[in-house]
């Protein structure tokens, strides 16, 4: 009897220890230092030049900088900053709340998995039920786990079947899963292209997107207050890993406040590009041809079909 009790205690201790393991690996991840200092951060990657002729070419333009033993490209519009691009979606993705969920939907959800079944019935497979990963108290709560490969089609079946108010009964236009953010340095429409794939894939199209035309492209922008965060735009983007990423709302706020670690807001960064295009066509041309070079040769992006 005593031995059985001791074994029971041992078992409990083991389970407790094993539940701490994932936390430990998170801590290790946080300790991993960025090798390129300021230029490489969690969401952005710099363009490290490898080929000799590329280095010579950008050196002649005065756009290179040596960090450690690597040569990276500087931002033509911000001479003291290096150029960074949003990482592909795989390395920059978040779990988002399902349609109709507010901040504390976990307290209203009874973990019945009806929404998950409904979404699978529709054939979209957007939702996943949480396990113990982040918060054991939320085991069984649904999340949209990968909007790039499984975007939400806003069919509202999950909302209809949810027996509680966890997924509030709202209209598709009122859904707020996240907000899409376009990286103007990765997007064709900001770099001499005429792409609008995202806008045509968006279920609400011109209600969500606005465009500014000039010689340097179509300049697509998402109105944050309109976007549903459904993720349909990401799949349509011809840039591998997508130039448009759906972010959770708080992450969106954080990122647009200090866009690409330049200390500027997203608005200011975009204004900088527009200013260059109106007042300094030389710089604007260098910027967009350089980004196009990155898109085609590093990201292996398809060229957009004009007038899609």
């Amino acid at each position: 009897m005593n031995r059985a009790r001791r074994n029971l205690l041992k078992g409990i201790l083991l389970v407790a220890a094993s539940s701490l393991l994932p936390r430990a690996s998170e801590a290790v991840k946080a300790l991993e230092k960025a090798s390129l200092g300021d230029c490489e951060s969690y969401y952005y990657e710099p363009w490290v030049l490898k080929a000799k002729d590329k280095i010579a070419y950008y050196q002649a333009l005065g756009l290179t900088e040596k960090v450690g033993n690597k040569v990276i490209v500087k931002n033509p519009l911000l001479p003291d900053k290096c150029m960074t691009y949003t990482k592909p979606y795989k390395q920059d993705h978040y779990e988002l709340p399902p349609p109709g969920a507010d901040e504390n939907y976990a307290s209203k959800c009874i973990r019945c998995s009806l929404c998950y079944t409904a979404c699978s019935n529709m054939g979209y497979g957007v939702l996943r039920l949480k396990g113990f990963e982040e918060n054991p108290a939320e085991a069984g709560v649904p999340v949209a786990f990968d909007l790039y490969n499984h975007p939400c089609e806003l069919c509202m079946e999950c909302v209809k079947v949810c027996p509680t108010d966890a997924l509030a009964k709202i209209k598709p236009e009122e859904v707020k899963m996240g907000i899409a953010l376009i990286d103007p340095d990765l997007c064709w429409a900001w770099n001499s292209g005429d792409c609008e794939s995202c806008a045509s894939a968006c279920p609400r199209g011109a209600e969500v997107f606005e465009f500014t035309y000039n010689e340097w492209g179509k300049h697509t922008r998402v109105k944050p207050e309109e976007c549903n965060g459904c993720g349909l735009c990401m799949r349509a983007c011809p840039v591998p890993g997508a130039a448009i990423h759906v972010l959770p709302r708080d992450e969106y706020e954080r990122r647009t406040k200090n866009f690409k670690n330049t200390g500027m807001t997203y608005e200011e960064y975009i204004k900088l590009i527009f200013d260059a295009e109106f007042n300094d066509p030389y710089k604007a041309t260098i910027r967009s041809s350089m980004n196009a070079d990155y898109l085609i040769n590093v990201r292996k992006a398809k060229r957009p079909t004009p007038g899609l």
Binding site: S107, S113, L114, G131, V161, P163
Partner: protein, 314 residues
């Protein structure tokens, strides 16, 4: 050897139609939930876009489900906890609860013996006969007041935990819904459905096995039979304390004159009710809060004194 194994699983003979019926129902319900996802579509076409709004007779889990695509069901205990955690209730919830409350107002604590998959699992590992010389919590006995207070305390505790953490607490860790979701998730993983994740299956599997292990340890080490069902689970105890009081579906005592006082009915009761001493001897129907209408006592009675069925009087 095989005979011994069979005895261990089935328990003391005879096993009759009630056991057969309720095991069938339990397995059908578990299978129904396990196969609720549109797996056949995915099996044919991995990029299935079915636009099917409902595909199987059972959807959801034992926390809340849709039966035959139309009938909403909602666990009343989940409702209590939801009210504690979110203070917010919508009509759809109330309809589901009303359906279940109506159903079990007729059937009593029927859920535990006929629906809950944990009964299926617990009974695999438990001692089937309790003998007069077993220790108190292994033997049939009349429930003392102290014994009745423990499940009430656990109900209050789960409610307070729900309020404190603002999550429906027992509903989250519940092995009942957890087991149905566990098998559902296993099927989803096997079929490679997009949302299937091993982490989810591990979580639900943990809820299921923790309850199972707690129950086994309570019986084998601490000599308390059906610890989980009698003292922990608020779902069953809610039905027991409220619905069993007035439900017409019950163990009826029919013809006491035929009783030979063999005490077999008390000895086979999985919930340790003293069926003979407390009810048959005094000619009262079994309305114990513990009784989940499994019908073991009915099957085992050699003289047909007790029956499982409806009785509206008394």
């Amino acid at each position: 050897m095989i005979e011994k194994l069979k005895r261990w699983i089935r328990g003391a003979p005879p096993r009759g139609k009630w056991t057969l019926a309720r095991r069938t129902l339990q397995i059908l319900i578990l299978l129904g939930f396990a196969l609720q996802l549109p797996i056949y579509f995915y099996a044919i076409k991995p990029t299935f876009h079915g636009n099917v709004t409902c595909s199987m007779p059972l959807e959801g889990s034992l926390a809340s489900s849709r039966v035959f695509c139309e009938i909403p069901m909602f666990d009343p205990w989940a409702f209590v906890e939801l009210w504690g955690s979110a203070h917010h209730v919508i009509l759809q919830t109330v309809i589901g609860v009303a359906v279940v409350v109506t159903l079990y107002s007729i059937l009593g604590r029927f859920f535990c013996g006929w629906v809950c998959p944990m009964d299926l699992l617990f009974s695999l590992f438990e001692k089937k006969l309790s003998l007069p010389r077993d220790s108190y919590h292994m033997r049939y006995h009349e429930a003392s007041t102290k014994e009745k207070i423990v499940p009430i305390i656990s109900m209050v505790a789960f409610f307070l935990l729900s309020v404190y953490f603002s999550i429906p607490f027992y509903t989250t860790i519940s092995p009942i819904a957890g087991t149905t979701k566990f098998f559902d998730e296993l099927v989803a993983i096997a079929m490679g459905l997009p949302g299937a994740a091993l982490g989810t299956a591990v979580a639900y599997g943990t809820f299921m096995t923790v309850a199972l292990i707690v129950n086994i340890i309570a019986e084998k080490v601490f000599k308390v039979k059906r610890f989980w069902c009698k003292y922990v689970c608020p779902v069953g105890n809610l039905y027991g304390f409220i619905m069993n009081k007035y439900s017409p579906f019950r163990i009826k005592v029919e013809d006491v004159t035929k009783c030979t006082r063999c005490n077999l009915c008390s000895m086979v009761c999985p919930m340790n009710i003293d069926v003979y001493g407390q009810y048959v001897a005094s000619m009262r129907d079994v309305k114990d809060y513990r009784c989940f209408h499994c019908g073991r006592c009915v099957e085992v009675c050699p003289s047909g004194v007790i029956k499982l069925g409806f009785r509206f009087r008394k």
